[in-house]
């Protein structure tokens, strides 16, 4: 390693230059951490540690995707795109089609989000804007506790409480008033796509509300006060100052919730009924990508079966990726529109 000629150094350490500027200048000049005269050792160590951490993330991501792709390859080669469009899941005859799993995953997650979004945002608004400070602190802590309950516990609750309740009270009601839609026709069972959506909704609400609460509390006090000073009521202040400032944060919270719903495994596996078929009714048992992997992995006897299950995982990764990219584009558009109008 070659040291720079010393006479260049004083220029960089000119006392009239702010230190931050100097460091930044040097960081830009040499992208890779190298021990240099004039750069404190701590700077070098910091660069090294953060750089290594960032690199680990990239390596991990590459490693996981590579393994998934390699392991899924036999199934990919055997079924091609038919894997995505076929509804035939028949391990005994080595026929594998993922469409029922994709359908179950997407429908249960979107339904859960549709229910959880207004609730989650509402709870967050109540916590950050309506409740007195002390109450909001307590309730906020409880919401975070809810988010920390293990999903298997939610699953148990779903089996013993939520599922039967839906079957005995909600499904008859839906059938009576909305039964003209095929969605709400069919047998009354406790394990169903509806139960899975409901349990997912319950699990997603604390997520959405915890993130939204942080988003709302990041709104500058000066904006709130500006609205109040104009004679805004609390709700008018929320509409004028809090919500416009929080749009991209809310979208982010919803996407996080959706991501959680898409990947949720064990709670869904416990209440959805695990039936790999698409039916028009929400009252019928169904299945999802994640729950199927968990349920069937131990029974997968043939190599192709294992490979097909791993391909389900690959599809799940792709869906999550798609959701995230869409969210980024959405947020980008929302923020750009705001500042160009």
């Amino acid at each position: 390693m070659e040291l720079k000629p010393l006479e260049r150094e004083p220029a960089l350490r000119d006392p009239s230059q702010p230190l931050a500027g100097t460091v930044r200048h040097r960081a830009l000049a040499h992208r890779w951490p190298r021990l240099k005269v004039g750069v404190p050792l701590s700077e070098f160590v910091f660069d090294g540690i953060t750089g290594a951490a960032a690199l680990t993330v990239v390596v991990l991501l590459l490693a996981v995707t590579t393994v998934v792709i390699i392991e899924a390859w036999p199934a990919v080669g055997r079924f091609g795109l038919r894997f995505l469009t076929s509804t035939d899941w028949d391990p005994a005859n080595e026929q594998f089609g993922a469409l029922p799993f994709i359908y179950g995953t997407v429908v249960s997650s979107l339904l859960a989000l549709a229910v959880a979004a207004p609730f989650g945002i509402g709870v967050a608004l109540c916590l950050s804007e309506m409740a007195p400070f002390w109450l909001s602190d307590i309730l906020g802590f409880l919401v975070e506790l809810l988010a920390a309950i293990p999903s298997v516990v939610y699953g148990l609750w779903g089996i013993f409480v939520l599922g039967p309740w839906l079957r005995d009270y909600v499904e008859p009601w839906l059938g009576r008033y909305l039964g003209f839609l095929p969605l709400f026709r069919g047998p009354r069972v406790a394990v169903s796509l509806l139960s899975a959506s409901a349990i997912l909704a319950v699990m997603v609400v604390p997520y959405v509300s915890a993130v939204c609460r942080d988003v709302f509390s990041a709104v500058p006090a000066s904006l709130r006060e500006a609205a109040y000073a104009l004679g805004a009521t609390r709700w008018e202040m929320v509409r004028m100052a809090v919500l416009p400032h929080s749009v991209s944060g809310i979208v982010g919270a919803l996407i996080l919730g959706l991501g959680r719903a898409l990947g949720e495994t064990i709670a869904v596996a416990m209440v959805i009924g695990n039936r790999p078929a698409i039916s028009a009714s929400l009252f019928m048992p169904s299945t999802t990508l994640a729950s199927a992997i968990a349920n069937e992995f131990t029974e997968a006897t043939s190599d192709l079966y294992v490979s097909a299950l791993i391909e389900l995982g690959m599809v799940l990764i792709l869906i999550s990726l798609l959701v995230n990219v869409t969210a980024r584009l959405l947020i980008y558009n929302l923020t750009r529109r705001r500042f160009s109008s």
Partner: protein, 252 residues
């Protein structure tokens, strides 16, 4: 006649008593300046006059503030109604970032639903922006975001926004701290114009400004009202030694 009367007013942030037992009558249709060194409680004082103090966590007020003889801190009084009558311009400009210049000006009016049609809206926007000495600079860009303006322009936008709701009292917390001399002069003119219709309280660090623009002056020190009187008297013949030291620049 006193538009606003502060009666044994004390203000707290948590346990800290920031304003200590202030008694003060703010005369109607006059300009009252509040002066004092940084941190002495000027901002806190004006925020007590439209119930903005209580918006801060753990902040509370003791004593009374009478607006036209009625205590704004009496139980059952709606702070929203008080704030519509007592408008405010903050120390730091705070245009709503998601609103255009025009929308910012009529933001407060939209709340009480008094803008009926677009002609009336345009008329109000122009009048308020002219009053705040901003019209000529922005008249071709009313659709641009309020935050795209310079700091001084943003401050004048906030003044226009506060004027649009036509309050009875206008509280101005160092409205000129980010303005150039020309805009400062324009704001001072505006203050003099407005006082025939409004009661104005203006916080300022600028002694010349207080002397030029105000009729009465209150001098605060460490949360205590040291002296209040006609501006001329305060600046030429202060009764208290602290006042004299402050206005002659010996401390603060």
């Amino acid at each position: 006649m006193a538009k606003l009367s502060l009666v044994h007013l004390s203000a707290y942030f948590g346990r800290v008593k920031t304003l200590k037992d202030i008694n003060l009558d703010i005369p109607e249709y006059n300009v009252t300046a509040v002066i004092g060194p940084s941190g002495c409680g000027k901002t806190t004082l004006v925020r007590c006059l439209n119930r903005m103090h209580e918006v801060v966590r753990d902040a509370r007020v003791e004593g009374e503030v009478l607006l036209d003889g009625e205590n704004i801190y009496a139980p059952g009084v709606d702070p929203v109604q008080i704030r519509r009558r007592v408008g405010m311009v903050f120390q730091k400009p705070t245009p709503f970032p998601t609103m255009s210049i025009e929308e910012n000006v009529i933001a407060g009016l939209k709340l009480n639903g008094s803008v009926r049609n677009s002609a009336q809206r345009a008329e109000i926007v122009e009048r308020c922006l002219r009053l705040a000495a901003l019209w000529d600079e922005v008249k071709d860009n009313l659709g641009k975001p309020g935050t795209s303006l310079s700091g001084g322009q943003q401050q004048r936008l906030c003044i226009a926004r506060a004027l649009a709701v036509e309050p009875e009292v206008l509280l101005m917390d160092e409205p000129c701290s980010s303005l150039d001399p020309a805009s400062t002069a324009r704001i001072e003119e505006l203050v003099l114009e407005l006082k025939s219709q409004y009661t104005i309280v203006i916080v300022t660090h600028n002694m010349q400004q207080a002397a030029r623009a105000s009729d009465y002056t209150a001098f605060l020190l460490n949360g205590v009202l040291i002296e209040f009187g006609e501006t001329k008297q305060i600046f030429t013949n202060p009764k208290r030694q602290e006042t004299e030291d402050y206005i002659t620049g010996r401390f603060g």
